[in-house]
Symmetry: C2
């Protein structure tokens, strides 16, 4: 039989990153391609103890069906402690729902808000998983270039004004994936005002916010939300474990009610044992001390990678110096074929993600950049891998 | 701000069952409304030991990202052992993917196959979670009446012939939810041939198949699939734990590749610790003995509920006598207002699910039936609750 697939699934393809992730199963490859936390970042002993306690004291609750909105104690913690600490929850207006990782939060937001043909704005470049989730609703995805201090406001206003049925501006203002850029407070305020002016909702994705290892926190866009136009997506993936797939949304109650319905038909509810593990970890262990440990780890690794890049890279190659998160973003001279560079790197057993993977429309746009991850590789791998890439940059 | 929601989300509403589930939080209510396994059905001690071992021996694998297709050992077990045992996997043609519960398998199947306006056929009545997942793709959902031996073939052929762009026939042939009906082999063959004739894929949902406590197994439709037209959805929810959200699809490789892409943007991958728990349970413990224990438990509970219904119900009320699964389906005389009956029952602290919740189009169709679950309540609750319902039937 010849199968007929939906139009929506034809618009997206397997993530280039996850395909590269498969190549890097070869242990001889030094991978700077992942988006994974460091294997040293997991609070293994705490998770072991917590899980044993849950399965001893509340086994039936951990294994039985639960409600779609999420495990109540975790949801209450998110609403009453985690989100208020960053000014990202207004108890009169907002609600929160636990989702199966930040990825599901993005998917469900589009599911309840976008009809086919509606426009969604995103940063260019941006997180490929989100872009594909948005495209899968047959939306008109429009990229807005990133400047060093956040999104380009002129381009943003032009798109808000001219694109049809703009429903969402999707943004990662803090330690952006892939660029590592953090939008300034001024930029955030301007973005908020523009979206408000044009009646467009902001989807603020903040998986890395707690991983600041340098400088001062910048308020979330959600914390500026006096008008109920911001949907905030958070996650335990980078601060506890990505394998457990637990994230959350903070959003106006009316939108949350729709997301609950959409989630119910997607996966009924998020794995309940995972939600119980997250809840017990953040409330019964010293979560702040754990975060400090992660920050110290990533501060050291990022600084070390930058040091090696300063030492080995040809100065014609520029790169960002992030204050947090997991990624660096390097840009080659304009006359260099970036795809060929990344293919040559893989041949030399070093994997990076080609910047084209982060373009809203890979087929019509060009990137001269590539993404480097510093959380996964060891310092020895960083030194060896950056040296190999550095030699390649001098040969360009 | 006045929020604009997508058309798709307007077409579905919160599951009546899950709403009733909230009402039944009142411990004074005897609930026959759930679809949950018995709390006595969970292999708690095994899960405790398995989880401790995983977190001792492979903690990083359990907490880190993994691939979208699923935890490789579990996926291989599904392909090499579980599915071949029921003739539901053809290694040359099929592939399998682990999904976040059977619900996600249904959602992803529609996501990759259906455009807006395409037709999906389903049984009438059918599982409300599936119906809502299908409707959320703005499809034309058409119900085919169930006879005692499976779906009505004349109606099925008429719909296959006359509805436009029919893509999928969604069916639960074994211990159907909500009716408890099992389609005969003859019926399955006829359904297969009809769908083949009209070039329509079959989505065979089989969450209860292993829970046969009486009679002989009937071959799955997938086991008849010589033409690559059947997508088979299985689940560990009813045989291990629903809270862990682990299910799987067996389907032609070409369709599976698309489902992988669709799942990647939905939730990246299914909770990995949960997949490891499922794998270790089915391979290192006596899974067959566990299933035998579940069958004995449900055989006893179903028989007890039927005994009470025979004793207390007015003979004008008819009901199915399932050979497995979790549900009974009772039908009131046609002159009775079923919704009023179920409301009156809740007032008397007994909850059942009104049959209208299982109609493809609740707004234009009528049901005289209601669903009773026998896995969750205790024998004491069954006796008390059925007696109350029985008294109500005599007063009709």
């Amino acid at each position: 039989m010849e199968y007929q697939f939906s139009e929506r699934i034809k618009t997206i393809k397997a993530s280039a990153i996850r395909e590269i992730f498969k190549l890097t199963a070869d242990p001889a490859v030094i991978s700077f391609a992942a988006g994974n936390p460091s294997p040293d970042a997991f609070p293994v002993e705490a998770v072991r103890q917590i899980t044993a306690d849950i399965l001893k004291n509340e086994p039936v609750e951990a294994l039985q069906y639960n409600i779609t909105e999420g495990y109540l104690p975790l949801r209450n913690y998110v609403k009453e402690t985690l989100l208020p600490a960053i000014g990202s929850f207004n108890p009169e207006r907002d609600d929160a729902i636990i989702v199966t990782g930040g990825q599901q939060g993005i998917d469900l937001t589009c599911k309840v808000l976008c009809n086919e043909g509606d426009t969604v704005l995103c940063e260019n470049p941006s997180f490929v998983g989100a872009l594909n989730a948005i495209k899968a609703y047959n939306t008109n995805l429009v990229g807005i270039d990133l400047d060093g201090d956040g999104v380009n406001l002129e381009q943003l206003e032009k798109a808000l004004k001219t694109e049809k049925n703009v429903k969402i501006f999707y943004t990662i203002p803090t330690f952006q994936n892939p660029s590592g850029i953090t939008a300034t407070l001024e930029k955030r305020k301007a973005v908020y005002e523009l979206c408000k002016k044009y009646g467009v909702l902001i989807l603020e994705d903040n998986p890395y916010g707690a991983l600041r290892f340098e400088g001062e926190d910048v308020p979330t866009i959600k914390s500026l939300d006096t008008d109920g136009i911001v949907i905030y997506a958070g996650s335990f993936s980078k601060v506890l474990s990505p394998g457990i797939r637990v994230g959350f949304l903070s959003l106006p109650k009316e939108i949350c009610a729709k997301v609950v319905v959409a989630k119910q038909v997607n996966d009924v509810h998020t794995n309940i044992l995972a939600q119980m593990i997250a809840y017990n970890f953040v409330t019964k262990y010293d979560f702040d001390a754990h975060l400090e440990r992660l920050r110290a780890l990533y501060r050291r690794k990022c600084a070390f990678m930058l040091e090696q890049m300063d030492k080995y890279f040809d100065p014609r190659v520029t790169f960002t110096r992030p204050q947090g998160g997991l990624f660096l973003w390097a840009t080659l001279p304009e006359d260099v074929d970036m795809m060929q560079f990344t293919r040559d790197a893989v041949a030399k057993k070093v994997a990076v993600v080609p910047g084209s993977a982060f373009l809203p429309h890979e087929e019509t746009m060009i990137s001269h950049s590539f993404r480097l991850n510093f959380s996964m590789p060891s310092e020895e791998q960083i030194e060896t891998g950056i040296k190999i890439l550095g030699e390649m940059t001098h040969a360009l």
